[in-house]
Symmetry: D2
Subunit: 143 residues, 4 copies
Amino acid sequence: MTVSDDVRDRVTASFARQGLMRHLGARLTLVEPGRVHIELAARPEVTQQHGYIHAGATSAVADSAGGYAGLTLFPPDADVLTVEYKLNLLAPAKDRIEAVGTVLRSGRTLTVCRLEVYDADRRLVAAGQQTLIRIAAAPGEPA
Amino acid sequence: MTVSDDVRDRVTASFARQGLMRHLGARLTLVEPGRVHIELAARPEVTQQHGYIHAGATSAVADSAGGYAGLTLFPPDADVLTVEYKLNLLAPAKDRIEAVGTVLRSGRTLTVCRLEVYDADRRLVAAGQQTLIRIAAAPGEPA
Amino acid sequence: MTVSDDVRDRVTASFARQGLMRHLGARLTLVEPGRVHIELAARPEVTQQHGYIHAGATSAVADSAGGYAGLTLFPPDADVLTVEYKLNLLAPAKDRIEAVGTVLRSGRTLTVCRLEVYDADRRLVAAGQQTLIRIAAAPGEPA
Amino acid sequence: MTVSDDVRDRVTASFARQGLMRHLGARLTLVEPGRVHIELAARPEVTQQHGYIHAGATSAVADSAGGYAGLTLFPPDADVLTVEYKLNLLAPAKDRIEAVGTVLRSGRTLTVCRLEVYDADRRLVAAGQQTLIRIAAAPGEPA
């Protein structure tokens, strides 16, 4: 399935405004209805003390993947905020990770997403779940 | 209460090896037995699409604060890994945040920490809970 | 601090309608603004396979304690639903537990509570966090 | 896939010792390697204040389903404890629920399970994730 150009533009524009994603070097690699992928290459800038990708970097891309997966199903005048999420770190990742956010349930107010993060060998390195809230798009900002 | 010089040195050295903490501009501001504070100043590099501190950056410092809080209570030959954590984002933060990790229960294998993040006005902006596992320090690394 | 008679009546009446609380033998022992205690005595009916109180029973009273803590701060025409919660089981409990729900943040739509469960020796046996949503009271039901 | 008779016997015997499962009227309906189903029929004894199945009852069967899913992959001399879990309640359930526990990762010490709960119409009514720890079977108890 594909998203409309409008939805793709909104997700892409919002992602581009996330200073953290740019600072980490994360890239948006897939935008489908209810599903978004974000990739992060390992660099010294994203590591923890043993040289693996830091749980915080893993979380950041997982959280964004889920948030944008939710946003693909929202009306044009709505925006998304993370209410909470939970993430299990299953295995250390060294090279490159891909975070997959998938909408489990999209409600009028709340959306729940599954979060999965894979390494370059398609091994599941983190798994979690996220609650999002739909808000009115901030005035003065692109919807 | 204060930690021994040895514990402080281990925490400080481990923190210094976390490329992500340096990349985000995070600073270790308190190390006590079972309690660690980490501060993060807002910069464009740590924002989400509305200019607030990204949930991923908030998580990164909260996760590290909890992990090091656990480490302060470990024997010298042990290291720490995050098993999982859950974080609620309670309010947007604009200026500066301080993550506080506090050990709730320190067991032989597992440690559970409370995670709290405050903004510059001492308002609670995120709250969560984390499970850590104690592992043998990686060979060839400083304990 | 004390709650108004009206709030106490609403919490007490709602608790009395929870068939599960009655079936488990749980008792409402404290209702304060933003804080509720529920007690559960150990009986064979609430155990897991080793004779300890089942995580599900612990969760049930923790979830209700948090939900009612949230409800104490709601307007009269509102009711509460659990969005999600996370609970760490810290130690087995044998005799009697007391669940403490405490509001960390009460918003217009969402409320976040801390969940703590103590055993008869005031040892923390479970700790967690919960997200609640405020809804309109169901028509035809007491507010 | 099927489990060995030995594994099935261990799961069935352990389930039978869970006083809470019996008290709630829960039934073990599927035991496969890394996957267990538990069914719960709605009765007044398992409801919350609006007559829906209580989040605590939903959690109890979800937690047990995950725990036993983990146990199916353990060696005979091991037993399982829940470290923590997180559950989102997605929709109210009225009639009958089926909890599905599925192992995402089975490690030497820790196991992580996905928790899903469906209603009679196969609608997802709750979803979550659980961390288990493998322990030595209690002495004097059937392994």
